[in-house]
């Protein structure tokens, strides 16, 4: 357990007088991977992160008991996490007029926790406007990889070639065969746990040992086998056998991974700093600049090419210029779109890389909320077992619109779920009454529940987009993002089907359905926003080519989820990293040939 080493974020001094080979904006999964690949190819890289420099290791108290924390893991007074009903009854900017000292977005089980208060942005400083949207942003080294759910899935040609399959939307300019070698590289570098299933629509990774299932999960898995469906152990971006990385340990199944003090202090769970950035710093080729809020990609007036990035120091409020031969934008799907749109020049009047007018458009994600809760009768009253010593429970891959054709909607959804004993008996909230009977009932039922919720593909549509608000600005005077985004009938029909199919599967497994949730969560809830600068072969209808390179500006790359052509229904982090690796390998080759 003391195998891992800590590294300070200190690298080479930032030297803004020099021109770096590449500047990378953003240090999450995409930016971290860009930094990792480019520095390994010998390029001198400057990495800009808008977040403050915090000692994440000091924030991580992974094995702390709730009762050893003064507020049982909750944030101090004056810190407010926006609630579901607030997102729905109010309009952004949600923190406007709030009496709270700090306002944060919801974020899964970590909403309002002490852990996220130093990771998520303060909505008071970072407003946005337009249609309702739960926009979760992390400004800190590593970005959202500090809080991600760790479900690490591949896409297949059902996704990359979705249009060919069902006629909707656009195909990606790449196929699974193009990406598969890079998925393999990501698997081997970072470690992924899972069980081989040989499913064409959810390709297997190069798995390390899988997490195990609980009794209820086994029951569901067996029943689904009879239906031609699968409940597979949570495919986690967590190394269970270890990787060659001195900053990371293998997972010891300590469990309660989502607990409110938060995080994985041995970094068995992938995060960008220990997985990618610290090893990149060890090459001597990476320079890190935190507190650096990029607000414009600068353009050479003669060539129209990118020449660097202008950023504001979030603390001293001064503006600086980072000069580079290549600019790589990896600020997250929505922040990247914002940065491109902010970068207006004579050559690029609609924002850099936006001759197509598609930047900000085709914005998509995963719709979530609907799900089912069941009870396994034979588990009532059984002795407690260690059921949550793992990063997640199970995953039911997509089963709709593969061979069949649903009448109400195109594309599909998967379920994430879990079952068994956990550190907190959630069923207590719904157990009626009080006294000895209440207490015994909570105890007896604590391990008997199973639940799962759907994650569905939101169709990429041109009409769903973001642009810059003409008036609203953030704390640093940078124009805020404005949302024009809502779910369509396809998503609503799909969500109805999630509930029906969830019940059907539990019933098939002999699991009593005790609850169904039909409520679609606010747009943005999945924190899987994608597709604002999509790839494509046609520069008129896409922003990037198959190497995430701008059609308009050849030394500009956008390597995060912005580039995705469709959302698929699989969680995107592993694909983001595989694509960034592929593109940056191409980038380094082109750079060496002098083609950028």
């Amino acid at each position: 357990m003391t195998l891992i080493r800590f590294r300070s974020d200190q690298g080479p001094e930032v030297d803004l007088s020099k021109t770096y080979d590449a500047v990378v904006v953003g240090s999450g999964a995409a930016g971290g991977m860009a930094a990792h690949v480019l520095t390994s190819q010998g390029m001198k890289v400057l990495l800009l992160e808008a977040g403050k420099k915090i000692d994440v290791n000091a924030e991580l108290r992974s094995m702390e008991w709730p009762y050893d924390h003064p507020r049982r893991g909750n944030a101090p007074p004056g810190y407010h996490a926006i609630r579901f009903n607030e997102y729905n009854i109010r309009q952004p900017p949600y923190a406007k007029g709030s009496a709270f000292k700090h306002v944060f977005s919801y974020v899964g089980g970590w909403g309002g926790s002490d852990y996220v208060k130093n990771i998520l942005v303060d909505e008071k400083d970072n407003p946005y406007t337009g249609t309702k949207y739960a926009w979760v942003r992390a400004r800190v080294l590593g970005g959202k990889t500090n809080i991600w759910g760790r479900l690490a899935l591949r896409l297949s040609d059902y996704d990359f070639k979705g249009k060919t399959h069902d006629g909707y939307g656009e195909d990606w300019p790449i196929s699974y065969a193009d990406v598969a070698p890079y998925y393999d590289k990501v698997d081997l570098l970072l470690g992924i746990s899972g069980h081989k299933e040989n499913l064409p629509h959810l390709p297997d990774s190069l798995f390390q040992r899988p997490n195990k299932l609980t009794a209820a999960e086994v029951k569901l898995r067996k029943a689904l086998q009879g239906m031609g469906r699968t409940a597979t152990p949570y495919r986690a971006g967590v190394t269970t056998d270890g990787v060659k990385n001195k900053y990371r340990s293998k997972c010891f199944g300590r469990g309660a991974c989502g607990r409110r003090p938060g995080g994985c202090d041995i970094h068995a769970a992938f995060d960008s700093p220990t997985g990618l950035i610290y090893p990149a710093m060890d090459t001597g080729n990476l320079t890190l600049r935190t507190n650096a809020t990029a607000h414009e990609v600068l353009v050479d007036p003669n060539t129209g090419k990118a020449r660097g990035v202008s950023f504001i120091d979030s603390q001293n409020l001064k503006t600086y210029v980072a000069k580079a031969k290549v600019v790589i934008v990896a600020a997250s799907t929505l922040e990247s779109a914002r940065l491109l749109l902010l970068s207006k020049s004579r050559q690029h009047p609609n924002g850099i890389g936006n001759s197509s007018g598609h930047v900000g458009h085709n914005f998509c994600e995963h719709v979530m909320g609907p799900g089912v809760t069941g009870m396994v009768k034979e588990l009532v009253g059984t002795e407690p077992t260690l059921d949550d010593g793992k990063p997640g429970g199970f995953y039911v891959p997509r089963f709709r619109n593969l061979q069949d054709k649903q009448p109400g909607f195109v594309r599909g959804y998967g379920f994430e779920g879990g079952a068994g004993f956990s550190i907190f008996p959630d069923s207590a909230w719904d157990t009626p009454g009080f006294g000895g009977q209440f207490k015994k009932s909570v105890r007896d039922h604590a391990g008997a529940f199973i639940n799962m919720g759907g994650f569905g593909e939101v169709l990429a549509r041109y009409e769903n987009y973001v642009d810059l608000d003409p008036v609203e600005k953030d704390r640093w005077g940078i124009p805020a993002l404005r949302f024009h985004y809502q779910f369509s009938d396809n998503e609503k029909k799909m969500c109805e089907d999630m509930v029906a199919a969830g019940k059907e599967m539990f019933e098939a497994a002999g699991i009593e359905v005790i609850g169904e949730d039909k409520t679609i969560r606010t747009e943005g809830w999945s924190i899987h926003e994608l597709g604002t600068s999509r790839m494509g072969n046609d520069p008129k209808t896409s922003v990037l080519n198959q190497f995430q390179q701008s059609h308009d500006v050849k030394n500009l790359f956008v390597v995060d989820g912005s580039s995705h052509v469709s959302a698929s229904c699989q969680n995107p982090t592993w694909t983001i990293m595989a694509l960034a690796w592929r593109s940056c390998e191409h980038l380094a080759d082109e750079f060496k040939r002098g083609n950028l």
Partner: protein
């Protein structure tokens, strides 16, 4: 090592019995060693302490909300609450309980009433749990929610009552079943 449910029951029953001894007198007497509440008045604290322990009492398995310090935890959070309407809701809810107690029990406060009378009051407001209307009924939901949160995050709740098995290092095989 596995311990059977029966063994655990016996052990914790003994522990719970021992733990509950010094707390036999539930109303803090003047000069008692109990720390002064930070938000509640002593009378309010006594009511919250008693009602939380009626919601999650000591049983054969584990000690209840009183031993787990539920009232003190709630008191601490309310004392530092940023939203001042939250502590005020508690104060108003307690006042509603006292008013109901006086009405039901010939002018006696909740703590002055007999154990049977307190139980009758709690049973009455809990009956409306799924559709709480009066202030007293709403208070039941409020104190029950806070009691659940505080109790099941306490050491007694996690270790003695739930016998939570996680937060341990599994150096070898992970617990659970293989996917086959």
């Amino acid at each position: 090592m596995t311990i059977s449910r029966r063994e655990m029951l016996q052990r914790t029953a003994a522990a719970a019995a021992a733990a509950s001894l010094p707390l036999a007198n539930v109303v803090p007497s003047p000069g008692s060693q109990a720390p002064k509440p930070k938000f509640f008045t002593p009378a309010e604290f006594a009511l919250v302490d008693e009602m939380s322990d009626m919601i999650i009492p000591t049983d054969g398995e584990s000690a209840g909300a009183r031993a787990a310090g539920v009232a003190a935890y709630i008191d601490g959070r309310l004392a530092e609450a940023f939203e001042k309407d939250e502590p005020q809701r508690w104060r108003a809810g307690i006042a509603a309980i006292e008013a109901l107690s006086r009405e039901m029990n010939g002018g006696k406060t909740f703590m002055q009433a007999s154990a049977e009378q307190r139980l009758a009051l709690l049973t009455r407001i809990a009956a409306a749990e799924s559709d709480a209307k009066s202030d007293a009924e709403k208070f039941f939901k409020q104190i029950k929610g806070s009691t659940i949160q505080a109790y099941y995050t306490s050491k007694i709740g996690i270790q003695d009552d739930q016998h939570y098995k996680g937060n341990v290092i599994q150096p070898g095989d992970y617990a659970g079943y293989d996917a086959t």
